[in-house]
Point group: C2
Chain length 390, copies 2
């Protein structure tokens, strides 16, 4: 008997809570009528505290990549010099998109499994003052690294370049202070920490990014943010939007609001620490050291070689994990712990992993200890607040 | 008391049948796992008989416009000469996208409210042999015109130009013989005759269109069909897709299959004829004469001036219709009769319209007569077959 993804623990899409899925199935409405206008404006407004911004937020019907491409198409002219920080496949994606738009792309490679160094970025920008934009990845989900975005923001601010951030696998699960850290564009998507199905992407635009949108000549139509900004004044999207996903977000944002953003962040840190403790108890080498460890996804570089077979065997038990991407394909596996994920889910996932590897309870026990310390208020991420999952 | 869109009769999104909405709310799955691969390939395969094609069909997560832009971005180089047929806002959209990609755009304007003339197209192409592609609209939903696509196909075939068709508001409700009529690219979307929520777009590519994709240099990334074709070999999408909408389509395609495509087309013709008969009984002038009348949407150019107030009053009764677009804004209203729509829905919609205008039953009675003739096998669209809605 095969079980259907009882634990879907990949780095997105994440499990959609049943009340969110039910909301998404609400009867269809006119995207130009008053009902949808209200839903859309409500969702965009309620995303602002999660983005921690006063900036305009726009919605695109597409995957997270659509928001990334819209950023490039609207901020970069052919032959513009840009800096791209690359430490995994999502950093590489920024570089590919920038090259597709014929920018002069400078790549700052950082080690896959570590974060980018703000001092290096500041140094590059001092030596290359014509750089118009820096493209960064907040959470590099191909490696499980959370970058020091506050530090990157400070490094870029000095130079005057725009800072554009892929926060697809972090926003809503991890602290991200868009305005305080000076981030001009933050891109994210519906299907990660926001707990909705895939199919909507969002981006926030600072005032100077908004100005820049009107100065750029790169070809675009579906991604032409000038048109989105114009239609937003009427509380309408320019093209037929993913209405069901907006319905889903109305509900999933309520879940985040009722848990409280601080508790959501603390929960993600707890889940990360439980997973890491459990894996270490099984002597499974983690790809990323504590300093850079992502609160939303953990990568493991195990001793055994046939990771595909391991993941297939786990899938049969109802636990869905992810393999490696790009140059890490076949070398790592990844556990997603973002969005709708509770401590008991981590125990179940770890228990399934150790059932495959013969851990004899060590992983679950180690994770339990982390959880217990958190419940006693000793978890560093918890900061004394307890989310309703904890 | 206000009623929530009991009759959502706009030209898309269309009402989502409750079993389709329920299917869309099924638990989320890994888009790189075996469950989703099977769903995606199943949906793409089952679309082929509806497209009436053996060509490759690709799915994009986006609105119908995303498939239109992908066609342009992958088939047109800057400075290429293209012909765009414009008889409404969706023809204008083709022209705007082609201009955004810096093509040399020739526009063949045809009267808003009539179809394009194949002879004129053939004539243009004889005089402009360097035209690389012709962009046409099958069903111009801004006016309610169904173009003679077979004739357009024959006119274009002589010239060797590619024929690219926006079939967003026709495919699945109206006969469209992609292969027999020689159409290189057919674009459509999930939220019209296919009865699913918005958020997926599809396009079919003929062999020579597929070749052309690899020869074009226009900047694109999310819309780069080379990448979609490559990933399709692995039965995977390149970017996180709208998984829920694929689940919805699995179910909505079953509804179409069990009704039978011929019956579905006959039903749309019947609905059109019922609506037109009812409106004419109220002395409401139709924008389009019988010859060009769309089976999926009907435009009315009423004598009264405040159409906005009329539509708002109808909305209060639970009937959602659409206004005009572009140069027809404020001059017409439009009734959608596509996808999940039955004869009784047309009666309800007409009854609500005549309740506003004081028709005293004339509209419903005229539509009933059309329906009764169809049930007696006398309806021309029915061709002897009876769909389960009839």
């Amino acid at each position: 008997m095969a079980f259907d993804q009882k634990q879907m623990r990949i780095p997105g899409p994440t499990p959609v809570p049943h009340e969110v899925a039910a909301a998404s199935a609400r009867p269809m409405v006119n995207h130009r009528g008053p009902v949808f206008k209200k839903v859309m404006m409500d969702v965009l407004e309620r995303l602002k505290p999660i983005f921690q911004t006063q900036n305009t937020i726009l919605a695109l019907t597409g995957s997270g990549t659509s928001a990334m491409e819209a950023s490039v198409a609207n901020l970069v002219n052919p032959d513009d010099e840009v800096l791209v920080l690359v430490g995994g496949t999502f950093g590489e994606r920024w570089a590919k998109i920038c090259r597709a738009y014929q920018a002069k792309v400078h790549v700052l490679d950082y080690t896959w499994g570590e974060g980018a160094d703000p001092a290096q970025i500041a140094d590059f920008l001092r030596r290359n003052p014509r750089t118009v934009a820096v493209f960064a990845t907040h959470n590099e989900s191909s490696t499980g690294v959370l970058n020091d975005l506050e530090g990157i923001g400070a490094a870029v601010r000095e130079s005057g370049a725009l800072l554009v951030v892929d926060a697809v696998s972090s926003l809503g699960g991890v602290e991200l202070k868009t305005d305080a850290w000076g981030i001009d564009v933050v891109c994210t998507a519906s299907q990660k920490c926001l707990m909705a199905p895939p199919g909507l992407a969002f981006l926030s635009l600072s005032q100077r990014a908004e100005q820049r949108v009107f100065e750029v000549s790169s070809p675009r139509f579906y991604f032409d943010l000038r048109v989105y900004l114009e239609w937003l004044k009427k509380h309408e999207p320019p093209f037929t939007p993913n209405i069901s996903c907006f319905f889903a977000l109305e509900k999933s944002l309520s879940l985040i609001e009722s848990e409280g953003l601080g508790s959501v962040f603390a929960r993600h840190l707890l889940l990360r620490d439980m997973v890491r403790a459990g894996l270490q108890a099984l002597d499974l080498p983690l790809l990323v050291e504590d300093k850079w460890a992502s609160p939303t996804v953990t990568a493991v570089k195990p001793g055994f070689s046939d990771i595909g077979r391991f993941l297939a065997a786990l899938r049969e038990t109802g636990v869905e994990l992810a393999g490696g991407q790009g140059r890490l394909a076949g070398q790592i596996f990844r556990i997603g712990h973002m969005g709708s994920a509770a401590p008991v889910d981590m125990l179940a996932t770890l228990a399934a992993i150790e059932a495959q590897l013969g851990g004899g309870g060590k992983a679950v026990s180690a994770a339990e200890q982390v959880w217990n310390r958190a419940r006693q208020g000793k978890h560093v991420g918890g900061q004394g607040s307890e989310g309703h999952f904890i």
